[in-house]
């Protein structure tokens, strides 16, 4: 079978979904915060159904986000939720809690399962472990380097998904940390909203150039990376490795931004696939992104070319 990697995007609304389909996205992760973690926007079941209707004629797939760490209450409502999602016609469940596996097996058999526990998906043996338990895809931790990504793609029996663009989560707490801090202060009412559209960030004394976005939602407090991964220049390395899915994370970005990014990666991927031997990177793909990039946020290679110690 011909190698056909997928360009995976997120969407904050049905409108963004339509625009990113037009820009070249092959698939989307959408959902609601009760079940999904750190979503670009909130999609009710009705909206997910609508998204499937919009996407299907284009051959575009819709994956439902169920990647929260579930509490008992959420876990107990999973059976109904997964069977409804199956009826709606989503193509896969993205999950990071075994409770979802249990629910999917009994109430939505046949739906593909993508294991995504974010920072804890770090080796090929564990990929295959989840594969034997029903997962079809392993979403790699963003903290892996290129060599580890290539080795895992080669040694895993599952599809491998890698984030190629956008911000990443670097800390997730169940606590309401911004709220607690404000309560501790002398004027606790100074900040009425703490959600991801508020433009909140933290800065550390010795890292004054780095702004780490922070926000709260029903799943707790989230701190995000100060840089955006951008692998468009080196996308061929991931394509050569046979990575199945390349994800553009669109959380906390404008629709225009995500559209530009999707278009650049689409062009790069199509160019590579049309003739891998003759592929050459076109600077315009990167320049288009640079022009719209927030100057306070560096475009980086994430951990792809870094060595970490411990």
């Amino acid at each position: 079978m011909a190698y056909k990697p997928e360009l995976l995007a997120t969407a904050a609304s049905l409108e963004e979904l339509r625009r990113l389909i037009a820009a070249g996205a092959d698939a989307f992760v959408i959902g609601e915060a009760r079940y999904g973690t750190r979503l670009a926007g909130e999609f009710t079941l009705e909206m997910i159904a609508e998204a499937v209707k919009i996407a299907r004629p284009h051959g575009v797939r819709v994956y439902a986000a169920l990647n929260n760490l579930m509490d008992n209450e959420a876990a107990e409502s999973l059976n109904t939720y997964v069977s409804t999602l199956a009826d709606v016609g989503v193509d896969a469940f993205v999950f990071g809690d075994p409770a979802v596996l249990m629910a999917a097996r009994s109430h939505a058999p046949g739906i593909a399962l993508h294991w995504n526990a974010e920072m804890t998906s770090t080796n090929y043996v564990t990929a295959n472990y989840w594969g034997r338990r029903g997962a079809t895809r392993y979403v790699l931790a963003r903290e892996l380097n290129m060599e580890q990504v290539i080795d895992t793609a080669a040694a895993s029996d599952l599809e491998v998904q890698v984030q190629v663009h956008g911000m990443t989560n670097i800390y997730h707490s169940k606590r309401s940390l911004v709220g607690s801090y404000l309560d501790h202060q002398t004027e606790p009412e100074r900040l009425p909203q703490k959600d991801k559209d508020r433009g909140l960030y933290v800065m550390e004394a010795e890292r004054q150039d780095e702004r780490y976005p922070i926000y709260e939602d029903i799943n707790g407090t989230h701190i995000m990376s100060s840089d955006d991964i951008c692998m468009v220049e080196n996308i061929h390395e991931l394509l050569e490795a046979g990575v199945s899915s390349l994800k553009i994370e669109g959380i906390m970005k404008s629709m225009d931004y995500n559209e530009t990014v999707v278009r650049s990666y689409r062009q790069a991927i199509d160019s590579y696939l049309s003739d891998p031997e003759a592929y050459a990177f076109n600077e315009e793909w990167l320049e288009a992104i640079q022009q719209i990039q927030d100057p306070n946020r560096e475009l980086s290679y994430g951990f792809f070319y870094k060595e970490q110690v411990y």
């Binding site: 008992n72 097996r105 804890t120 034997r132 997730h172 606590r175 309560d183 550390e204």
Partner: protein
């Protein structure tokens, strides 16, 4: 109930309920292991040279593990090894050999989060029990059910679970539940924090955590600071967990293993905390109807505490009062001054191994297992040859002092920190 397709062996049979919950203590090295066991831990968990999350601790060699297991056996206690990293591809090589060596050393269980370690242990070292680490952040009973069907006899719950959550889990799944009841806590979901990776290129999920959650941060909205000059800065740092006041609730909700955090903590800390929980658990089981929290237990815990204490997520979600915005005072108010190595009832002189400076005229406390406790002033002090001394200055020096009451080997002598 769904069936699970799997290739690993399942846990066979129903486990016997423990008569009492297990008191599980950390042991950063062999000496700490001995103190934890001597002061009443039913089991200790340690780190080996690889696969553990405390790469800075002076972790155990296999020889030390064997000695630790032998020592623990004399008290009927068990030794567990934390193999709780999330492994990268390069960590896979050598794993089988390591796990077999743990089994050979007489280790009772490993505490693991990553399926590669869980599955490999089940395959190559079947005598090792596999306990699911808190690093998996397990919060619900379906996930617990999943791990039970995977053959695990015990799950260490996420530190975000409440009494209500634990009751729900115990109601649905017959499996041993281990919960942290005392010590420092990640303020993030365990395993879901890579601050160290981003700030210092150290991999937190392989033992490189540099505790960035306890650093202070400036909070901004757009470019506007969310604090005034005189106000405390933002932090994620949490107070430490202490559940001594809720012991009956922990027992009654059915927690099977009470876990104390702190492989990096001192002998004095571990022995003091274990000592208190041991006495409290035993007192409860002796007479549950008339169990009462003793004020002296709380005082003891406070003598070893490094940070202010709270009840984590057990009762309610933590709020402003559960985090530490003020500058931290690192030191506990009391410290270890010496260990009793011998006692001569004829002369009332104890031989003490020095662990910290102390001198004639200083007020000290003696503490031992099973409630041994008294205060005195150091009056007569000599070296091992009997020559009079004014102060014990040399680390590990053997010192003789007259004690007010009889003491036993491994009793601790502590002093109040600071001048007066």
């Amino acid at each position: 109930m769904t069936t699970i397709e799997k290739t690993t062996p399942r846990y066979q049979g129903k486990r016997h309920r423990l008569a009492k919950p297990e008191l599980l203590a950390p042991a950063g090295n062999l000496e700490k292991l001995k103190f934890a066991v001597h002061y009443g831990a039913d089991a200790v968990y340690i780190g080996g040279q690889k696969y553990g999350l405390r790469s800075n601790a002076d972790n155990f060699s296999f020889e030390e593990m064997k000695e630790g297991v032998e020592f623990a056996k004399r008290y009927g206690a068990k030794v567990f090894v934390a193999t709780n990293i999330y492994a990268h591809n390069e960590d896979v090589e050598g794993l089988e050999e390591y796990l077999r060596a743990l089994e050979h050393a007489g280790i009772s269980a490993i505490i693991a989060a990553d399926p590669v370690i869980i599955e490999t242990a089940q395959r190559v070292a079947p005598k090792l029990e596999v306990h699911l680490s808190t690093q998996q952040s397990t919060l619900n009973w379906q996930a617990v059910q999943f791990w039970k069907e995977e053959g695990l006899p015990r799950v260490v719950l996420a530190r975000e679970t409440s009494f209500k959550d634990i009751a729900e889990i115990k109601k649905h799944v017959d499996i041993e539940i281990e919960a942290f009841i005392h010590g420092a806590m990640c303020s993030s979901f365990s395993g879901r924090c890579v601050l160290s990776n981003h700030f210092t290129d150290r991999d937190s999920n392989r033992g490189g955590c540099c505790q960035s959650c306890r650093w202070k941060y400036d909070l901004f909205v757009d470019d506007m600071p969310m604090y005034d000059e005189e106000e405390d800065k933002f932090t994620m740092g949490s107070k430490d967990l202490c559940m001594i006041e809720y012991l009956p609730e922990l027992i009654e909700v059915g927690v099977d293993s009470f876990k104390i955090e702190g492989r990096m903590k001192s002998i004095h800390y571990v022995a003091t905390v274990v000592n208190v929980y041991r006495q409290a658990i035993d007192a409860y089981f002796e007479d549950p109807e008339h169990f009462e929290l003793k004020q002296e237990w709380i005082e003891e815990i406070n003598k070893a505490a490094n940070r202010p204490l709270n009840t984590g997520f057990f009762l309610d979600e933590p709020g402003a009062e559960d985090h530490i915005y003020e500058p931290e005072e690192k030191a506990a108010p009391y410290d270890f001054a010496g260990i009793v190595v011998d006692y001569d009832p004829k002369t009332s002189f104890a031989t003490i191994q020095q662990r910290n400076h102390f001198k004639v005229g200083q007020e000290v406390e003696f503490v031992g297992p099973e409630g041994t406790f008294f205060k005195q002033t150091v009056t007569e002090m000599t070296d091992i040859e009997g020559a009079g001394l004014e102060a014990a200055r040399h680390p590990l020096q053997q010192i003789r002092i007259r004690t007010l009451k009889p003491v036993k080997p491994m009793d601790m002598m502590r002093k109040k920190l600071g001048r007066k």
